[in-house]
């Protein structure tokens, strides 16, 4: 079992500032992502390909993170969120953002994890079973904000 700790607010803030710019605002979020709406689940696996950690992002935040990475207009992200999807031209960027986010779980830790995949989930999908989790809210200037959850599986 992976012993790496879940990310702190400081870790999330540092990651998002490096990835998306210093203007990103991060704070604690008590409710976390609203799983009654479409959301994105990213899985991180150990060398035995067992899922150890997940990141759950509200769909609006996922589209915003992917779009903000290469300055895709916010309207593209917003339209995709309204349609309940990740836009085709945002998908690759979002995968890269979530790939880099593996370091939320591995910085200064011993266990190696790698990004496995991302899945766009609907409220019909079963909620991910997490043992422990931390929840944060992000606000990306010029894009939509939203909540994310980092959890151990």
């Amino acid at each position: 079992m992976c012993s790496n700790p879940l990310p702190t607010l400081k870790t999330i803030e540092k990651m998002m500032h490096c990835l998306l710019g210093d203007q990103v605002v991060t704070k604690n979020s008590v409710p976390g992502p609203d799983l009654t709406k479409p959301h994105v689940v990213a899985s991180y696996v150990n060398d035995a390909h067992e899922v150890q950690r997940i990141l759950v992002c509200e769909l609006g935040l996922a589209n915003a993170m992917g779009a903000a990475m290469s300055m895709i207009p916010s309207g593209v992200a917003n339209d995709a969120t309204k349609a309940g999807i990740v836009a085709d031209n945002i998908q690759g960027n979002l995968s890269e953002v979530l790939n880099i986010c593996v370091n939320l779980f591995t910085e200064n830790c011993t266990d190696r994890l790698t990004f496995s995949n991302l899945k766009v989930c609907t409220p019909k999908d079963p909620a991910p079973a997490v043992k422990q989790s931390v929840k944060y809210a992000l606000d990306i200037p010029r894009y939509t904000g939203g909540s994310l959850l980092a959890g151990s599986v």
Binding site: C18, L19, M69, G92, N93, S95, E96, N103, T114
Partner: protein, 123 residues
Amino acid sequence: MKVLIVDDSKAMRMIVTRTLKQAGIINLTTIEAGSGVEGLAMVADHKPNAIFSDWNMPEMTGIDFLKKLREDGNSTLFGFVTSESSPEVKKEAKDAGASFFIVKPFTPNSFEAALAPVMAKTF
């Protein structure tokens, strides 16, 4: 200075290019590849001065790309820009002949810190 950037993410290749400029690399020309396989072809065709490669890529990973180059007798300055950060991976990179290792996400400062020693030695 001609730099080959190898990453399966087009956006990341763009960000690496931008960061190299911000880090003050002068006379910079960049060429790009989306995998190790493409990278090998670009090295043969364009003979870059330095290679910045991702680790996890389809077709051929960054470490296999580096090993193939060195097997072929190519000694071009090579470094990783990757989300990998474990000590084992860094050691494998160094043992295979990588000169620097930059962990994503990065800043111009992290590029400068990683590149200053090798640039001074190589160029």
